[in-house]
Each structure stands twice: as structure tokens, then as C-alpha cells.
């Protein structure tokens, strides 16, 4: 028994020895500078329809937090994917008498009442990410985001120029209006576009479903994914099905930036979530502090911004910091 234990101990120790490829120890300044929180005295409520676990919202929030830090604003972040509960969150921000509210307007009809009670109470509201067509009607002052259909169309135009005939647009969430809009945009530029529904909560399921589709229909020449993690699964599926299809994707993350660099993904279209969060908070700050109104009465577009082999070297370092 004893020799065995000794051998096991040695094995564990050698396994536990430091290995490459892990976290890089960094001593760089992570605070990003800025004033102490709350020094301007403003409190801003930031309400989104984030489903926990999405890298996209991570960046929106990171941008908002950085802006709050830079401008000395106290930020109250809250989220709920359910429209009714999101309205409740806005209402509770009104009740708490915050100085300003930034909110996504993904379900305008459900949120209209809560937004109205905010404007009636004299609290400025700024829209972001979704609701580009309705924000003014609801009484929001400004809007920062991209137009999903426009973004989809520009992807469609770009791949059409590259010769796309039969792209596959992969929807990873059932019943999402904004994902459907992106695919509709692609289809408006390339009429041969086909939609495919996959279970985004399970990477194996996404991979095999895509693999099956690519094997079934060899005429698919482009795969358009609507989120960065799905694009990574698409790379796997493409290899398995030995399909010649090219992959393009919406949204960006660190892993995706590497794939763009090594050429397995053609390009990513980025609506710059960090900027959405940052600008929403900053615009409220400017409005409260100085009465500024950005956008000239029109929505401020944060996208679409293309990331491809031409500009990836510049953008890659930002993705590592989780800001793009």
C-alpha cells in the first residue's frame, strides 16, 4: 500500500506542476481609471432583457460600468428576459427616484406603461440595443444601438458580393424577434437564404444539427450564425460534414477573434455592445449635467461594424479585455 501511495503522490505532484496555456498573470491596471463611483451624485438605472449567461450582455454591462466609473455615476444594473418583469424593474427604478433610466426596448408594447410613468415623473429615459423604431413614440430621449434588419441586410449584401447563392441562417433561440429580423435582413439581400433552428443551450446539439444540415444540402455555401458561440460550433460541424461552406457571424468574442485571425471564420459583424452600454450611460450623464441631446433627434447607430482579416489585428487585443 505504501509504495502505491508514494507513487500516487509523486504522480499528483508532477501533474500539479505548472502548465502552460493557462491564465496569464497580468499586473496591468484593470480599474480603467476614472473618478470614484458616485462623485457626480447621479444615479442611473440600467435595465436590460439579458438572459443570464450571454457574452453579449456581458459587454453591454462592462461598457455601462466603465462609463459610470469614468463619470462618477452610481449604476444600478438589473435584467430580466421576461417583458412583464422588465417593466417591473423599470417601475421600481422610477419608485426609487433615480436620476435617469437606460433600458432596452425589445418589447415596446409591454414596456410602454413603465416608460411613460418614468417620463411623467420627469426621469429622462434613454433606449438602447433594441426598439429603434419605437423609442421616440415611447418618449425616450435618445437611442443607441443597431438596426437588426439593417445589420442583416449588410451581411447579406457582403456575402452576395462574394457570390453567395444559398446561405444558411442559424437561429439559436426560439421565438426571438431580433434574431428573426437579422435572418430576414440577410434574406432580403440573398433570396436563397434558408433558416435553421437549433438548440443554443447545447453545443453538441448545435454541432450535430448543423452537421446534419450541411450533409443533407451540399448546395449551402455560407453559414450565417447569429452569436459567436454558435459560430464556433459551426466550425466543428463544417469539418465533420466536410462542407465547403464559409462561415460568417454576428457578434464577437475573444475565441471568435482568434478564428477570424486564423481564417476559419470569414468575418464577424459587430454591433459594438460595449459602446451601447457606455454611450447610454454617458448620454444620460451629459443630459443631466449639461442638457446635451445626442443624435440630432435620430437614433445613434453603434453598428454594424465589420471585423475581418483586415482589421482583426487591431481588434484582437480589445476582445481579450472583454470590451469588444
Amino acid at each position: 500500500m505504501r509504495p502505491f501511495l508514494a507513487a500516487a503522490a509523486v504522480a499528483v505532484l508532477s501533474l500539479a506542476a505548472c502548465s502552460d496555456g493557462g491564465r496569464q498573470e497580468t499586473n496591468s491596471d484593470t480599474s480603467g481609471g476614472g473618478n470614484a463611483a458616485g462623485s457626480s451624485g447621479y444615479t442611473v438605472a440600467f435595465v436590460t432583457h439579458e438572459t443570464p449567461g450571454d457574452t453579449f450582455w456581458d459587454k453591454v454591462r462592462a461598457g455601462a460600468e466603465q462609463a459610470a466609473k469614468d463619470e462618477g455615476v452610481t449604476l444600478k444594473y438589473s435584467n430580466d428576459p421576461d417583458a412583464g418583469k422588465q417593466a417591473q424593474l423599470i417601475q421600481s427604478a422610477v419608485d426609487a427616484k433615480v436620476n435617469g433610466i437606460a433600458t432596452t426596448l425589445v418589447t415596446p408594447d409591454a414596456l410602454a406603461g413603465a416608460v411613460k410613468s418614468a417620463t411623467t415623473a420627469g426621469i429622462p429615459v434613454v433606449g438602447l440595443n433594441a426598439g429603434i423604431d419605437q423609442y421616440q413614440k415611447l418618449g425616450a430621449l435618445m437611442y443607441f444601438g443597431s438596426d437588426e434588419t439593417v445589420a442583416g441586410t449588410s451581411v447579406g449584401q457582403r456575402i452576395a458580393a462574394a457570390g453567395a447563392k444559398h446561405p444558411l441562417c442559424v437561429i439559436h433561440q426560439t421565438g426571438s424577434v431580433s434574431l428573426e429580423a437579422r435572418c430576414a435582413g440577410v434574406k432580403s439581400a440573398v433570396p436563397g437564404t434558408e433558416n435553421l433552428q437549433v438548440n443554443g443551450a447545447d453545443d453538441s446539439a448545435v454541432t450535430t444539427t448543423l452537421q446534419a444540415k450541411l450533409a443533407q444540402d451540399k448546395s449551402i455555401d455560407y453559414v450565417v450564425t447569429l452569436g459567436a458561440p454558435v459560430a464556433l460550433d459551426a466550425i466543428n460541424a463544417k469539418q465533420q460534414a466536410s462542407s465547403p461552406a464559409k462561415i460568417v457571424t454576428f457578434d464577437l468574442n475573444q475565441e471568435m477573434a482568434k478564428r477570424i485571425k486564423d481564417g476559419s471564420v470569414e468575418f464577424a459583424i459587430d454591433q459594438q455592445p460595449y459602446a451601447q452600454g457606455y454611450m447610454a450611460v454617458s448620454s444620460l450623464y451629459l443630459y443631466l449635467k449639461n442638457g446635451n441631446d445626442l443624435g440630432g433627434g435620430k437614433p445613434v447607430l453603434t453598428g454594424p461594424s465589420f471585423v475581418d482579416s483586415a482589421n482583426i489585428d487591431k481588434i484582437l487585443p480589445f476582445t481579450e479585455k472583454n470590451t469588444r
Binding site: V12, L15, A16, A17, C18, S19, D20, G21, G22, R23, T51, P52, G53, D54, T55, D58, T174, L196, Q197, V198, N199, G200, A201, D202, D203, S204, A205, T208, T209, Q211, A212, K213, A215, Q216, D217, P229, L232, D233, N236, Q240, N253, Q254, E255, K258, N322
Partner: protein, 346 residues
């Protein structure tokens, strides 16, 4: 009472239609064959060995955990934490090794210990408090789901784990959990072989091992089992730990196949496991079912989810189809149970 001794022994093993129908997996097998033939007819690209093995792979990623969930359900309990368990397992391994820069094998063992501990806790709490496992594991499910996101965000600053493919031990672990080889024109993933192994092991245990007898007994009537000396608590805790072991296994596969994991994933899979087990003839109330049935249930799931794609149909309908399958399975099971427990005059 004394007449019967005179009754002659005619035959030892009769094959009756009723007995055949009373086998839990028969309904599922018939359904599987029908669905298979159906897709062969309507989907040309379904008719290749490559497609068949893709279907098997898809089935195996559900089927490995479904076998454990099936055993647990035969033992009369549920585990709703089984869906996010693989993600937790992968995250523990990935983040521990990435943060401390140690060999991935260390993290894999640590992750196994973690999963077994969660399984033990599930079982221990259920047995100790007498609260239905549905509630206890619902709690564990939320805890794991939240912790997956929270801890990942704390450690990596994002909601997905970092790429670990450059850390020592990756290649060997990938061989064990996520390698593949080609067989003719088809790619065979190693999870398919593991799946077959686990199913065989579970089937053997249920039919031929003493523990198998105990699993049926604690699910069929825990008090009766306790009265004749079956270690009910140990059996049930063991079942919960089996599920979490298999969850760990699938988690290792996902991690070493995809390098990174989304911390919010896995939610909803717990129901797929339960559906696979129920479609395979496992009784929701426990005490009836078998491992082969759960495997066929997972195969039906894999075949249908991909068959619809191979046929080029709108996959939006898949869920509706799954629901119909589930309802049919439950109806058949209820009928079978009534058949099996109907008392006869002696």
C-alpha cells in the same frame, strides 16, 4: 391451498404476448423502428452510414446521462440538476486548471469529486429530509446554474470559460472523452462506444446484480424494501451519484470537444433525459423500466431531432413531435402498469 401441489408442472418458461408487451422497452423499440423506416423513406441523406453515426453521436450525448436518469427514476427519484451538471463539471475542470495553470488531469479528478459530492448531497438531502427529490434537485439545479455563471464571471471576467487547449494533458483527455475515428465513410465518436458500454453495464446491473434488485425495490415500494433489509438510503444515494458521475462524463466530453464552455448552457437538458427514460418505458412513479429502454428513448430523440433536418423540414416542429412522443409513451406505460398490477382471483 392443498390442491395446488397436485397440479402438474407443464412448462417452465411460457412466451405470452402479454408478457412480451409488459417489457418496458418494447413500445419504444417499435416506435424507434417505425421512425427509422419513416426517415429512410422520406430523407435521402438519412440513408448513409455517415448520417447514422451522426445520429448515434447526437443520441449518445443525451443517452449517457439518460441511462443514469433512467436508473434513478426506476429507483423512484428525479434529478433536475442533471442538465446543468455537465456544464458545472466542465467549468470546474477548465477554470481550476486555467486559473492555477495545472495539468488538466488534476482538474478532471477534482471535477469528478465535485460532481460525486453534489450527487451525494442530492441523495442525502432527499433521504434525510423526506422532501421530494423533485424539489431538492430543483434547488441544486438553480444553485449550480447560478454558480456556473457567477463563478465563471468572477474567474474569467466573461460568461464563457477560457480556451484550455494549450494546457498540459489536453491531448490525452481528448483521446479519452472526445476522440473520433473513421469507419468507412463515417465518423464514429468515442462517446458512442462509452454510451454502449454504460448501457450494457446498467442493463446488466438491473437484470443480474443484487443492486439491480434493490433499485427496482426502492422504486417500487421503498418501505417494503426497507422491511426486508434492503439498504434503501445507500441504494438511492448511490443512484444520485451515478447520475452525477455520468453528468461529469458528458461534461468532460463537451469540454474536450469544444475547448470552451458557455456558463449558461445545459438548461433544459434535464427534461430531455427524463423524456428519453419515459419514452423508453420507465415509469414516472418508479419501480419499472430498464436501461435498454432509456437508450432507445435517447436514440429516438437523436434520430428525430436530426431526421427532421435531414429531411429538410422546418425544425421548429421538432418540439411538437417530441411532445407527442412523450404523451404516447406515458399512455402506453400507464396501460402496461395497469396490466401488470391487475389482481387476479386465486
Amino acid at each position: 391451498m392443498t390442491v395446488a401441489t397436485a397440479e402438474p408442472r407443464t412448462r417452465t418458461r411460457p412466451v405470452r404476448l402479454g408478457a412480451l408487451l409488459a417489457r418496458p422497452e418494447v413500445g419504444a423499440l417499435a416506435a424507434a423502428v417505425a421512425i427509422f423506416v419513416f426517415f429512410l423513406l422520406v430523407a435521402p441523406s438519412f440513408r448513409s452510414s455517415a448520417s447514422f453515426f451522426t445520429v448515434l453521436y447526437q443520441s449518445s450525448t443525451i443517452g449517457i446521462v439518460a441511462v443514469g436518469v433512467g436508473l434513478l427514476m426506476i429507483g423512484g427519484e428525479f434529478d433536475l440538476s442533471a442538465g446543468v451538471m455537465p456544464i458545472s463539471a466542465g467549468l470546474v475542470n477548465s477554470m481550476f486548471c486555467w486559473y492555477f495553470g495545472v495539468n488538466l488531469w488534476v482538474g478532471a479528478v477534482l471535477s469528478l469529486a465535485f460532481c460525486l459530492a453534489v450527487g451525494f448531497l442530492n441523495g442525502w438531502l432527499v433521504m434525510r429530509t423526506g422532501i421530494p427529490s423533485f424539489l431538492i434537485t430543483l434547488g441544486t439545479f438553480f444553485v449550480l446554474q447560478g454558480a456556473n455563471l457567477g463563478v465563471t464571471k468572477l474567474v474569467t471576467g466573461s460568461v464563457s470559460s477560457s480556451d484550455i487547449s494549450a494546457i498540459d494533458g489536453f491531448a490525452s483527455l481528448q483521446k479519452v472523452f472526445a476522440s473520433s475515428f473513421t469507419l468507412g465513410s463515417a465518423t464514429v465518436w468515442i462517446t458512442v462506444l462509452w454510451w454502449i458500454l454504460f448501457v450494457a453495464l446498467a442493463a446488466w446491473t438491473l437484470q443480474r446484480a443484487r443492486v439491480g434488485n434493490w433499485i427496482y425495490a426502492v422504486g417500487g415500494s421503498a418501505d417494503s424494501a426497507r422491511a426486508v433489509g434492503v439498504p434503501v438510503v445507500r441504494t438511492k444515494i448511490g443512484l444520485f451519484m451515478t447520475v452525477s458521475f455520468l453528468g461529469w462524463f458528458v461534461g468532460m466530453h463537451s469540454l474536450y470537444r469544444f475547448n470552451t464552455l458557455q456558463a449558461g448552457n445545459g438548461v433544459g437538458n434535464e427534461f430531455l433525459y427524463i423524456i428519453a427514460a419515459v419514452v423508453g418505458g420507465t415509469l414516472l412513479t418508479g419501480g419499472f423500466g430498464n436501461a435498454i429502454g432509456a437508450a432507445i428513448g435517447a436514440f429516438i430523440f437523436g434520430m428525430t431531432s436530426l431526421g427532421i433536418v435531414y429531411a429538410g423540414w422546418d425544425p421548429n416542429w421538432f418540439k411538437a413531435f417530441l411532445g407527442v412522443m412523450l404523451l404516447l409513451a406515458v399512455l402506453v406505460n400507464t396501460y402496461v402498469k395497469r396490466l401488470a398490477t391487475k389482481g387476479r382471483p386465486s
